[in-house]
């Protein structure tokens, strides 16, 4: 879906288009937690963007719209931050940057996250970035956030670089 993606940064985290040399890193970055929540993973991963910190690839972030439960103009967002870089706020920053991308460069009006109820780390990310609870999908918790304008964001959303 993402045909055009411009690199974005908040000063700490950068999300940028994927390059072919990133592929082995994305596969090597999968760990047990990845497989628990994301399944086996593709042999040819092509996420929307690579998450980079200080020149190091630390994960990826992606969105798609081809899900039956998604309303028109809504996308489902997924991400993986590699194990050594978790619990540093990088997922929240990446998600904030992706929402900014959706707002300024696409017609998407709603970003959605499906989170396993046992995935406490992602539940924290959703709350921090201002996603709000929506009806469950196949036993997964759903959180949504409008992408229309920054002011539409829930209270916890803010400029993380400040």
């Amino acid at each position: 879906m993402a045909t055009h993606f411009t690199e974005r940064s908040d000063g700490v985290v950068t999300i940028r288009p994927m390059r072919s040399i990133d592929r082995p890193l994305l596969i090597a970055g999968r760990d047990e937690a990845f497989h628990v929540f994301m399944g086996e993973g593709s042999d040819d991963p092509q996420p929307t963007a690579i998450i980079e910190v200080a020149g190091a690839v630390v994960g990826w972030i992606d969105y798609d719209s081809d899900r039956a439960w998604l309303a028109s103009g809504a996308v489902n967002v997924g991400y993986n931050v590699f194990a050594p870089y978790r619990r540093r706020g990088y997922a929240s920053r990446s998600l904030e940057l992706l929402v900014a991308h959706l707002r300024s460069e696409t017609a998407v009006h709603t970003a959605s996250l499906l989170i396993d109820p046992s995935n406490a780390a992602s539940l924290a990310v959703a709350r921090r970035v201002g996603f709000e609870s929506a009806p469950e999908v196949d036993g997964q918790l759903q959180f949504v956030r409008s992408t229309l304008s920054p002011s539409d964001c829930a209270p916890a959303s803010r400029d993380l670089t400040s």
């Binding site: 700490v12 780390a121 924290a124 709350r127 803010r158």
Partner: protein, 563 residues
């Protein structure tokens, strides 16, 4: 933070009762980020200076102040550890602030699971903590700690600190201090109890250190490679010099020349070291080889030499002439407990060979030493598990059992060295006892000092004097360079260069090993011991080629012992 100076001293003096003015009227200002090496003989007030700068000695006169807003940290010669914590706990204390930030961050993360939490406040606090942790490069704290603990070869992280040796405790304290990253880092002999590889790591670390470093050290490679200033303490005065050790040596020699002290023996020793500094690496290597080929002339010179003719600083009496076979080690293996320390070692010690023994603590250096001494006629009780040590008929051992700890603290320096004899038989010559003691830089009333008041360096000089008077043609020295001031080190190097026999020396002092060693016996880990012809720099070059330039020191490993 910008400030012209991080620390200033104005007319600082320090008097140690009853009669020692160690520092006198010292006025100095230290630039932020400066790397300063402190030189001076034992007892010249180096440690006193650092204690004043660290704010733990207020018994001085004059003004001394750390510029407000800066932090200071000191590695003392005998640092205190927190006995209620294990090794890792003590190290983590150094990163206390970052550890606290990370602990609070974990709490903040957990509060997102609390449905009643004020998420706006939680998010704001999390962002604030992330910024602070980023700034402190705290995310990689665990990895940083692991690297530092490995590089300084710390004891096991979960072990108690109560029963650590002095050297282990110092390494733990050094690691803790480096992690605390004070703006002004004060180090009193930081390289003591570190092996050569760890010293090289510390050198790189301190070169890149953003704060000010003031280090008392006898490690002349550190002084050459890290220090941009040399502060010389001499008879209470502080004499700063902008430059590294080699350039300080140049100007010092020039100054003594100008003062027309060419005949002074100390000046000649300085000049010989300067000559060595000016040599290219090939000439240095050739020097070692020349020594191996010049046994006959070395022996002849030593036999013709009369130490009464000039006041040598240190004199090692030659033993009787060595035959062709000195020490031949074949297929030697040795275990300790369930570990294999040495696996199939072979070497042949040549006449005039000086062997530097290097390797991590606990690698087996002292065990090998003891086996060589036992085979050479000493009594250490240490023998190989497998293989042989074949000692030539002409070998006479020069060794004193590691006696720094068994010296009687109530004895004076003179009594400890001369054992009450006014005239000493040093080798096959009669030497005046007072003159012999003076040659180890114990002049006048210093000879009457009881051992219990001596500094570490002074005790080591007593030990050396006792070892070196025994005579013999194969000399064994265990860490002779620890705590010695640079003057004494230089004199010892000169004495070893003139000595016609063989020497086996455990040392981590790279400069010392480069100047004297014809061979290196390196404990490289995993029970491998390498016999290498060449000095320490040549060995290091060889290892870098073998391992790659980024080879980091790691903790000592052993093969399991399969008896």
């Amino acid at each position: 933070m910008s400030a012209q100076f991080i620390y200033t001293m104005h007319k600082v003096g320090r008097f140690h009762p009853p009669d020692r003015q160690v520092l006198e009227n010292i006025t100095l200002a230290f630039y932020p980020g400066a790397k300063i090496g402190v030189l001076g003989t034992n007892g010249s007030g180096k440690s006193s200076l650092l204690k004043i700068m660290a704010g733990i000695d207020d018994g001085f006169t004059g003004d001394a102040r750390l510029t407000p807003g800066f932090t200071v940290g000191l590695l003392e010669q005998e640092p205190q550890l927190d006995l209620s914590k294990d090794v890792r706990g003590n190290v983590m204390d150094g990163a206390g602030e970052t550890v606290s930030l990370l602990a609070e961050y974990e709490k903040v993360l957990a509060s997102w699971s609390d449905p009643d939490a004020d998420y706006e406040k939680v998010g704001a606090r999390q962002a604030d903590l992330e910024a602070k942790i980023e700034a402190a490069q705290g995310w990689d704290l665990q990895r940083t700690i692991e690297i530092a603990m490995d590089a300084l070869r710390l004891p096991p992280p979960d072990g108690s600190v109560e029963n650590l040796s002095g050297g282990e405790a110092r390494r733990v304290a050094l690691c803790r201090l480096l992690l605390s990253e004070p703006d002004l880092l004060l180090l009193d002999e930081p390289t003591n109890h570190l092996d050569a590889e760890s010293v090289a790591w510390l050198e790189r670390f301190l070169s890149d250190y953003s704060g000010t470093v003031v280090a008392i050290t006898h490690d002349r490679y550190f002084l050459d490679n890290v220090a941009k200033w040399i502060l010389e303490l001499d008879r209470g005065k502080g004499i700063p010099f902008e430059g590294n050790y080699s350039s300080w040596l140049e100007q010092k020699t020039d100054r003594l020349d100008r003062e027309q002290k060419q005949q002074d023996n100390k000046q000649r020793t300085l000049a010989r070291e300067l000559e060595w500094v000016r040599m290219g690496s090939k000439a240095r290597q050739a020097k070692g080889k020349a020594r191996l080929n010049a046994y006959e002339s070395l022996q002849a010179e030593a036999e013709a030499y009369d130490p009464r003719d000039e006041k040598v600083q240190i004199y090692i009496p030659p033993g009787k002439r060595l035959g062709d076979k000195v020490i031949e080690v074949s297929n030697l293996s040795k275990g300790f407990g369930d570990r294999l320390l040495i696996d199939n070692l072979n070497f042949s010690l040549p006449k005039a060979g000086i062997v530097g023994v290097i390797g991590g603590n606990g690698a087996g250096k002292t065990t090998l030493f003891k086996m060589l001494i036992e085979a050479s006629g000493g009594s250490t009780g240490e023998t190989p598990d497998e293989g042989t040590i074949d000692v030539g008929d002409t070998v006479e051992l020069a060794y004193v059992n590691q006696s720094r700890d068994i010296l009687n603290d109530e004895d004076t320096v003179y009594e400890a060295i001369t054992e009450g004899h006014d005239t000493l038989t040093v080798g096959d010559r009669e030497v005046n006892g007072r003159a012999y003691v003076a040659s180890f830089n114990f002049k006048g009333s210093d000879q009457q000092k009881p051992l219990k008041v001596l500094s570490g360096g002074e005790r080591n000089r007593v030990h050396l004097a006792r070892v070196l008077k025994t005579g013999g043609n194969v000399l064994f020295l265990d860490e002779p360079t620890n705590d010695l001031d640079v003057d004494t080190l230089r004199a010892l190097e000169d004495a070893l260069e003139r000595y016609p026999g063989c020497a086996v020396v455990i040392s981590h002092d790279r400069w010392f090993l480069d100047r004297i060693a014809t061979h290196i016996l390196a404990f490289e880990g995993n029970s491998q011991v390498r016999w290498f012809e060449g000095n320490f720099s040549e060995y290091e070059e060889f290892r870098e080629k073998e391992l790659g330039e980024n080879a980091q020191p790691t903790r000592v490993t052993y093969k399991p012992l399969a008896r």
